[in-house]
Symmetry: C2
Subunit: 355 residues, 2 copies
């Protein structure tokens, strides 16, 4: 799964804080990475811009330069969060969706794990949402026409065998590496028999691909309709291990799972392709707390860990994760989303002191 960056002299990391609390939490992740010292190649950070603010300043939400530098000069990246305008603005469209597509980061991987009973609300949760990241309704092919009966809008939902196969392959690999080796396919093929049918059949078929040569024989497969998956996530989250889903269902499911473990402010993700990986906290730009210095930096630090793990730097990743988990368990330095009173900076210092 992880592609080798071999014995590099340095690790070039693009930083795209973008909007809102992204600008508060990405610097925290940077500080945590620096604290790893020689566990990883010397990190070099490249500051890049994107987002709503960039759009209002320059008329472009995702500058070509940002994409080019990520593609040609960076080994990996960390993305913060984007604000969206409250009404449709001509020419604006989400830079994170575009970045995932332009860099072909086809897998959005979101582990949701409960750490401390005090901050969790439910029985222990330990699952990974593997979300397809390039198609479904996110192709954003929409049309609008005027008719005698008023406006009619259409959006196209694309599901391909190719994208379903590669996300399925990623999900099987992740499931196979976990103790329970259990994979749940999320779909709605009782309504969308063609598109979700293709997704389901393609993912099911991976197990018996000759190329996989029996290596996934130990993985058990289950299915859940997306509505029922959300219901069961709340009621019996322990039935899930790895969940694989088309883009929009994965978006919803990962927020549902996040609700089970304390706060969105804890949930990391990576956007992974065959040649690049970009960490991204699942929380959004949180306009309500922007600039107050109280954003939770833990999802970003965990996203950095996930990114490093994906690149093969297991020790560095473990150290970040352990430090974060200790801070959560001790409960002395927590931001308000976890019912604490600490600032972003205090939580960061607590993490740094444990690295």
């Amino acid at each position: 799964r992880s592609f080798s960056v071999a014995a590099k002299q340095s690790l070039k990391i693009g930083l795209i804080p973008a909007d809102g609390i992204g600008k508060e939490v990405i610097p925290a992740a940077k500080a945590a990475i620096i604290a790893l010292g020689s566990d990883i190649p010397k990190p070099e950070f490249i500051d890049l811009v994107a987002g709503w603010e960039t759009f209002t300043r320059t008329g472009v939400a995702l500058p070509d330069e940002t994409v080019e530098i990520l593609r040609n000069e960076c080994d990996c990246a960390l993305f913060g969060s984007v604000s969206s305008p409250s009404r449709k603005v001509v020419g604006y469209s989400s830079p994170i969706v575009a970045l995932r597509k332009k860099l072909d980061l086809y897998a959005n991987i979101r582990p949701v794990v409960s750490v401390a009973p005090e901050v969790d609300q439910k029985p222990a949760v330990d699952l990974i949402v593997v979300r397809e990241n390039t198609e479904c309704l996110y192709v954003k092919e929409e049309t609008l026409i005027d008719t005698p009966n008023g406006k009619e809008a259409r959006a196209s939902r694309l599901i391909t065998e190719r994208a379903s196969r590669r996300i399925g392959q990623m999900a099987f690999q992740l499931a196979n590496a976990r103790p329970r080796k259990h994979l749940t396919i999320i779909h709605k093929s009782n309504v969308l028999s063609v598109t979700d049918g293709l997704f389901r059949e393609t993912v099911r078929g991976i197990k018996s691909l000759p190329a996989n040569d029996g290596k996934f024989n130990g993985v058990t497969i289950a299915e859940q309709l997306v509505d029922s998956a959300v219901y069961r996530l709340f009621r019996e989250p322990e039935i899930f291990d790895v969940m694989v889903a088309p883009n929009l269902y994965g978006d919803i499911i990962s927020d549902a799972a996040a609700a089970l473990v304390g706060s969105l402010g804890l949930i990391p993700s990576i956007n992974a392709g065959d040649n690049f990986v970009m960490g991204e906290p699942v929380h959004g730009s949180a306009p309500d707390i922007e600039g107050k210095g109280i954003a939770n930096p833990l999802a970003s630090i965990r996203s950095a860990a996930l990114m490093l793990r994906h690149l093969g730097y297991t020790e560095g990743a473990d150290r970040l994760d352990l430090a974060v988990n200790q801070v959560i368990r001790e409960g002395r330095f927590l931001t308000p989303d976890l019912k604490g009173t600490s600032t972003t900076e205090e939580v960061l210092q607590a993490v740094l002191s444990k690295i």
Copy 2:
């Protein structure tokens, strides 16, 4: 909202138990309606077929006769639940989706209310999901092509101003009749700016339509992206009063809300159009407990109440709801989904004894 059936001599109710536990819970709802005696016009029941079993027997999941009798002879109907085949079967498609469309039952109304702290898991919930019932991805316009890179499937998502306006109108009416008068519009217009943008703008616009003549001035409007709505439903369900959503989001949101109040076996719904209303429990066909006599009949009885209320038979509806709520609060006769040990029949008898 309710259309008048005036001083009818009899009330003709189509019964479509369809598959699975539908066949166990619809008879219970029938018995509860009969028990109302003179609170409603004398009920006449017409047995109708549809579903997967009907399909395997006749090759048609929704016989024309069923639709015609509902349309021409019935005042209203109760629908049970449908099983779906585990793989795509040529010629089969969900009869409930087709029925909603053929009878133009454009509003799916799903109240989720907590009754007894013992069976609920969270702070008190009292909300209504108003789901558009005829379009979105449920138009089921799908295509599949073969390409050199493998199969490619597409589905079309339709959002019209007309359908958004009438569902919005229904949602405003419901919100306006409630103490909090609060309406949350669910969408994902940060990605689907055209389709969900149209839904959002159209619903927002209803408040100031000249035809509404200021009558919704007291309704406050909020918005939530669908992913964040699911998250907040789990974390702070009390922020919601009436939620209005396009079809698929409404499907998911109503299951999410159901998870907060004990069991899907408690959640009723109606499919309402301008000339017809059909009650339908939100739970599915539950193949795992089919035929065991332990299906929870309360969602069906509540669906009957909701149907009667929509028709204007408030007293009858109140009596059914009160009886159901008493049975839940007493907690002596509950089916296994509510951690009880009673059968469908025992729960029904308990309800009948309170009507």
